[in-house]
Amino acid sequence: MILLWMIVLLMAGGVLAWLAKRWHPVLPRWIALFAILTDLILACYLWLGTPTAVTGSSPWLVRLEIPWVPQWGVNFILALDGLSLLMLLLTFFLGALAVLISWREISTKSGFFYFNLLWVLAGITGVFLTMDLFLFYFFWEVMLIPMYFLIGVWGHANRNYAAYKFFLFTQASGLLMLLAILGLYFIHGSQTGIYTFNYFELLETTLDPLAARLLMFGFLAAFLVKLPVVPFHSWLPDAHSEAPTAGSIILAGLLLKTGAYGLLRFVLPLFPGAALEFAPWAMLLGVVGIIYGAILAFSQTDLKRLVAYTSVSHMGFVILGVFAFNEWALQGVVMQMIAHGLSTGALFVIAGFLYERLHTRDIQQMGGFWSKAPKMGVIALIFVMASLGLPGLGNFIAEFLTLVGSWQANNWLTVFATIGLVLATVYSLRIMQKVFYEPAPTDRPLPDLNARELLITLPMVVLILWLGLYPQPILDTARPSINQQLEAYQEPEVEEKKVVVAEVPEVELGIEKMSE
């Protein structure tokens, strides 16, 4: 029931926040903050309350099953494993930050703003928790509308175009996934006579190769657009740069992760054969994304657009890792999801701070802020370094594990992916250079971070350091569910798997030494 409460709390909080605007103008944000923090506490309680999961036992920590539309075999199934738990922690943490960052930024129609914010989070939470495909699609769509409003009502100048584009891209790809879900549903039904959307039962469907391929492409359509992978990425820079800061954080930090989560949770276990076939192409797309995103990021002058393209580059690592099909790479992917959520979220936060002070996102007009706003400079430096993959910060662990894993799957593509790290250094340093070090073009005063802004950024700094220095809890939490996703791939190579499992802690020790 605790899982249901998390979603209900967000939804009810959203409605309440909307209504509360009438009673007092500051009530909505307090309600939103309270709802999200309660959820964060619940998720932490679940995390601390469960003993370190043992490999081999069932990875599912909590499960809830209520019949919903029994005629169609739709059940309200929520289930939590290590992967979902980590994603939830990220969701609520970034959600709380998004509320704090909007504290002053959103002055018009704040009730409706927090309503949308909480409902996006509710949709995301549902996506991470549900194990019924109908319900999954349902939550997948529930995320969209409020996000559309967040961009379309509170965004920057070109917001309508960006909101349309975001909505049409994700909706079109989502409908293809719906078709694939229906196809799977009927194939399973005709085989077993049981028509159900239950994920655990659909896992047992045997598919002929052609059907598997078609259905997989249906799912991939939704996830690759959301991730985004390069030919389908064009909605992302617009949506990210036009959204309000809170919207950008949620887009970059959470919505993209739903795509990665979908790949891990659905594509890998449901279509092992087809995924193996598609793997080289997917990895190629990942590498293209890494390099293409990096090059475009370098050539941007709009700070938010720049950060958006770095997301494209970073998400390339995710798809590279997912289709390497080994535990190293998948651990890397999970780390990447969390670390990217934090680091990119933080960069958007800083872009938001700058926009609030300067009313521009153009980095040509910035410069010399290191001396004017040293606190902001230090924090920006930390996250820029995280984004380029400096050891000691979370992203390094993520990219390192991903590359180690993908090396085992495909040497050449990994080499090219590594080039992406060099390019990351180039674009990341350019941010620091342009915004903080270069001589200022105008002599405008720039107030440094205030207490609220420090309250937002410092926890992120702490977390990204923690991820970089001691990632073991995260890896432990994620391991059982990762092995679960990989079950279909590992039967022929049981021995290798054991070796991999045994080696991981040693590697972490090495990293710790390095960063110290």
Binding site: W68, F139, F167
Partner: protein, 486 residues
């Protein structure tokens, strides 16, 4: 007619009686409120009388009519819709200068015609029902006759409807000529011998499809739709979009199921082309509209295309899907036109984009209801439209109609664009503060506001918990022989 016959026709008799009663009351004392109350009561009474018939398996009144679970459900749906429309009409017509009372007679008669359609099993009763519906609609569409576009709409509908009726009649004649009988099961028996349809019979069916297609406003018989939607008063438009189409669709399902038209590839091909063309034409033309009523008109064309996808599935699941979708579509359409009716004043309907600019900040509740309706039309979760679209897709996938299903998905995406456009307009900041229109006493709007609230709640309820409705449809249809056979 036996007593049992009367009992089974009670809903129709109540409507007929109500129409007569209202005429007499008008003759004695013209009062809008009284007429309105009589109308509402008679719709409710007719609806309640259906509960007597809930458990009916199949009751025929030879040779014209048949009352079964299917018919009871459709009659119930149409009566409920007509009731909601009359609720929305009160405030709308209260501010008009014309004589308001006859509107209700016409509304009742049109509903009666639609109800006759879904219970008919003979060409004569079919035609009778269709004409009662059509003739009432001619007058309804141009009811507010001083308005600029109302004559145009009325005359357009009159000419085209008469024309299509002629086609339908000629088609019936040809079918009668080749089979020698006019009851549906007689035609089915005569046709069961054919593997391929003989030319004359096919021509007859083709002409009937023209007549039916006109009423359903599917491509290429859709030309009248945007003009009539635009010219007719908003509640009448809601009626044209829902009850009139629902009745004809019910008839089409019954006829096609009875004669098992799905065996003939030629007929399937015709319907497939019509479905795909309707989806595309409706959605693409809607993209270019600036008038909300015209957008809804084109959107209704595409929705009929979606419905035909489930129809072509031809399975029992397909019929359930159509019915479910129809319920969702009725709720949504009546709601959408209800909002338009509520925002309209006595000189024109609120149909321009400008009327909706910044609506969310001026009248948040109305705008929320309208947003919900539009999202439902677009098929977004938490609304009935989503579950309906899901059901239709499921029926299509189940019978492997991949082409149709793919077209449906593609069109849903196109469709999103213009629904979102209207929503985006409502969210814009209004440029100038509008003069608040002179409004009637708030108490007059109680019925409209209540109806809209009910519709919005229904929309969400069906969207979140469709189980009850699915259960009801399945149990009502379980006993219908022509459906179970499939």
């Amino acid at each position: 007619m036996s007593q049992n016959d009367f009992l089974h026709l009670m809903p129709l008799l109540i409507l007929t009686f109500a129409a007569l009663l209202i005429m007499l009351v008008i003759a004695a004392w013209r009062n809008h409120k009284i007429i309105y109350v009589i109308t509402a009561i008679s719709f409710v009474a007719a609806f309640l009388s259906l509960f007597e018939l809930r458990a009916v398996t199949e009751y025929t009144i030879e040779p014209l009519l048949v009352i079964d679970g299917f018919a009871v459900f459709y009659i119930g749906l149409m009566l409920a819709t007509a009731l909601l429309i009359s609720m929305l009409s009160y405030a709308y017509f209260e501010q008009q200068k014309e004589q308001k009372e006859e509107y209700y007679i016409l509304l009742i008669l049109a509903t009666l015609g639609a109800c006759v359609l879904v219970i008919s099993k003979h060409f004569a009763s079919l035609f009778l029902g269709l004409e009662v519906l059509s003739v009432a609609l001619y007058a309804l569409i141009s009811y507010l006759r001083v308005r600029e576009r109302s004559d145009e709409a009325g005359i357009k509908y009159l000419i085209l409807a008469a024309f299509s009726s002629a086609f339908l009649l000629f088609g019936m004649a040809l079918v009668y000529f080749s089979t020698g009988i006019m009851t549906f099961e007689g035609i089915a028996a005569a046709m069961s011998g054919y593997r391929e349809l003989p030319m004359l019979l096919l021509t007859g069916f083709g002409m009937m499809i023209i007549g039916i297609g006109f009423k359903l406003s599917v491509v290429p018989f859709h030309m009248w739709t945007p003009d009539v939607y635009e010219g007719a008063p908003a509640p009448v438009t809601a009626f044209v979009a829902t009850v009139s189409k629902g009745g004809v669709l019910g008839l089409l399902i019954r006829f096609f199921m009875e004669v098992d038209g799905f065996r003939y590839p030629t007929l399937l091909l015709i319907f497939t082309i019509v479905a795909v063309a309707s989806m595309f034409a409706g959605n693409l033309l809607a993209l270019m509209q600036q008038n909300v009523k015209r957008i809804l008109a084109y959107s209704s064309i595409s929705h009929l295309g979606y419905l035909l996808v489930a129809f072509l599935a031809g399975s029992q699941m397909g019929v359930e899907a159509i019915t479910f979708y129809l319920v969702a579509y009725f709720i949504t359409t009546v709601g959408a036109f209800g909002v338009i009716a509520m925002l309209s004043d006595n000189s024109r309907d609120a149909e321009q984009m400008d009327d909706f600019r910044g609506l969310l900040w001026r009248r948040p509740w109305t705008a929320t209801a309208f947003t919900a309706m539009l999202l439902s039309l677009a098929g977004i979760p938490l609304t009935a439209g989503f579950v309906g679209k899901f059901y239709v897709l499921a029926a299509g996938v189940n019978t492997q109609k991949w082409l149709l299903v793919a077209m449906l998905v593609l069109n849903s995406v196109i469709g999103l664009y213009y629904y979102i456009k209207v929503i985006a307009v409502m969210f814009q900041q209004p440029d100038t503060e509008k003069e608040p229109a002179i409004r009637l006493r708030p108490s007059i709007y109680i019925a409209s506001v209540g109806t809209l609230a009910v519709l919005t709640l229904l929309l969400v309820w069906v969207g979140v918990y469709p189980t009850a409705l699915v259960d009801m449809i399945q149990s009502m249809f379980a006993e219908v022989p022509t459906l179970v056979a499939r």
